[in-house]
């Protein structure tokens, strides 16, 4: 027992600082020489996943390892492909919202917005200002929730289990808010073509403000837990760096691109849904490593809090959905008194609305990057083609360049900071 105490005493933060225990500060290519000198050039091919908690879903990575160093990475996807895009072709436009929400299951408001906005573009339908603000409020709350889930699971991959409980605690508060406004915690189907489903209930604004008032201090708590954590810093700092030009060639968008120093955010660059009304900053990184990716997302949570606050302050009065009865359902109370409303309701529910032929591509800034929705309309009440340009799907191509040549523990950190959602990748 005394021997154990002696050994425990000999491990101190001081010794760790002098000499990193992991291979984090390994220069690219340094491992090759070291391995060859020791005569350890034997390669091992392993499957990481498909069923592995660190793969954030059903992602299979065919890796070649040389000792602890990852030499090649080959993502194999499609394990949760459910044919959502094909299913959308068999649904009326307003019914397909339910399907598209289930693609990227952590950012359902963004999926619904991209889809509804593409349909509105084809219909040339105006969305009332109040509906736009309500959409912004929900999308930004969803961005916070998505980043919190990323933070919890990402830190868990590196061993910081407390972060999971803390982040999911706050995420649950957001889900409670969603439940209050729409009746559902996930996949709320709150956004409709032409507006939103319902106005926010009394008391919602107060609850949101209460949440917003405590969120910044909670972010401080997360940072207090992680920013001086030696393991976290060694796993994230100077790992997974990809040059900016390569990221652009790979089509990477979102926090990954911003961490590399490119201030590209569609909310600022090509404002949609009244984002031009709000004052917010685009956080960018300087090094482009995993630590910058973490910092950028943490800063985005703070910016989102500010946007929701401004949207609540400036929430305009007026209708929450378009008055065009050919597109939006009439209010429930009119059905008892107005024959016309009853007919519109019947027509919409039974056969939906027709969309003039055309094609539209609408892109929004989701928590993971550019989420684009491409719709081909053939003049009928059902879309001829719905395609989602999912940021996780495109960003996954960067994983090879982030992880190859690093030690396997850093590679897991790269995967966590990439934040792939397999529901969005496979659709």
């Amino acid at each position: 027992m005394s021997d154990y105490r002696e050994r425990e005493k000999s491990i101190s933060i001081g010794t760790i600082e002098q000499e990193p225990v992991s291979g984090t500060r390994l220069e690219p290519g340094a491992g090759v020489d070291a391995g060859e000198e020791r005569g350890e050039a034997e390669l091992l091919t392993i499957n990481l996943g498909p069923h592995h908690p660190a793969t954030h879903g059903v992602l299979r990575l065919l890796c070649t390892l040389e000792g602890e160093t990852v030499r090649t990475i080959d993502p194999i996807i499609g394990y949760v492909h459910t044919g959502i895009e094909k299913s959308c072709e068999d649904q009326e436009y307003w019914k397909a919202i339910t399907f598209v929400e289930r693609m990227d299951y952590l950012s359902y408001y963004f999926n619904a917005y991209a889809y509804c906005s593409a349909v509105e573009t084809l219909l040339d339908e105006e969305v009332p200002p109040r509906a736009q603000y309500l959409r912004v409020i929900h999308m930004e709350l969803n961005r916070i929730a998505s980043h919190l889930f990323w933070l919890g699971t990402g830190a868990l991959d590196i061993g910081a289990i407390t972060m999971l409980w803390w982040a999911l605690r706050e995420r649950d508060l957001i889900l409670d808010l969603f439940e209050m406004s729409s009746g559902q915690r996930f996949h709320t189907r709150y956004f409709q073509v032409g507006g939103v489903m319902e106005d926010i209930p009394p008391g919602f604004e107060g609850k949101v403000r209460e949440f917003l008032s405590q969120m910044p201090s909670r972010v401080d708590q997360y940072e207090a837990l992680l920013d001086r954590n030696e393991i976290w810093l060694q796993r994230t700092q100077n790992t997974g760096i990809v040059p900016l030009e390569q990221l652009l060639g790979l089509g990477v968008t979102g926090p990954l691109l911003r961490a590399a120093g490119k201030p590209w955010d569609l909310r600022k660059a090509m404002p949609y849904c009244s984002y031009e009304d709000f004052d917010f900053k685009i956080p960018v990184g300087t090094v482009g490593d995993n630590y910058d990716r973490y910092r950028v997302r943490m800063a985005e949570i703070r910016e989102s809090v500010g946007i929701v606050q401004q949207a609540l302050d400036g929430l305009p009065e007026g209708p929450y959905i378009t008055g065009n009865r050919k597109v939006a359902l009439p209010p429930r109370h009119e059905l008892a008194t107005s024959m016309e409303a009853l007919i519109h309701h019947f027509k919409l529910v039974t056969e939906g609305f027709r969309v003039p032929p055309g094609e539209a591509y609408v892109a929004v800034e989701s928590p993971r990057g550019e989420l684009g929705c491409f719709i081909v309309a053939d003049g009928s009440a059902k879309p001829a083609r719905v395609h989602m340009r999912d940021p996780s799907f495109v960003n996954l191509q960067a994983l090879k360049h982030m992880g190859e040549g690093s030690v396997i523990a850093d590679f897991i950190a790269c995967l966590a900071m990439l934040d792939p959602i397999l529901g969005g990748i496979d659709r």
């Binding site: 996807i77 499609g78 492909h81 044919g83 895009e85 094909k86 299913s87 072709e89 068999d90 573009t121 084809l122 040339d124 390569q246 652009l248 060639g249 790979l250 089509g251 990477v252 490119k262 590209w264 660059a269 090509m270 055309g358 094609e359 539209a360 591509y361 892109a363 550019e370 684009g372 491409f374 081909v376 001829a384 083609r385 395609h387 340009r389 799907f393 495109v394 996954l396 191509q397 496979d426 659709r427």
Partner: protein, 172 residues
Amino acid sequence: MDATGLELVAQRVRDAVADDAVVGTGYQRGQATLDVAPPRVHEVLRYLRDADEQPFGFLASLHGCDYLPSEPRLGVHYQLLSMERRDRLGVRTRVTVEEPHLPSVTDLFPTANFQEREAYDFFGVVFDGHPDPRRILMPEDYVGHPQRRDFPMGGEPVLFTFNEHKFPRWYE
């Protein structure tokens, strides 16, 4: 980009690449689309990326779609983006089901790798010169291209080991 700008781009592409490179233009709801002849896609995209006076350096997305019943049926869309000018341009090309061949643009835009594989998987558009021309989301031994409009919706038996002998070659 407005309708006039689209015509100017089309004319520049015709001058620089070939007269038959641009088949037509489409402008709808503020979205500009350039219709390009299938064999010229690679040259046109290279011109738009590097040589044009208003270059588009970023391929945001690539979609396949099926225009059944009109011919040629299969369409491939390239959504180009210029981050400097904050502008988008769609490039559209259409190939027949019998000859679904297009030049791959993965050498210009590495991002097209997964997306071209996706278009091949779901529509059967073959991208010549693709470094890894395999299916991506459907199983490797899958037969057919499920997003084509004439591919039936549903009705596909779920195969387990206990019932696979009941559906020999069910896909035919």
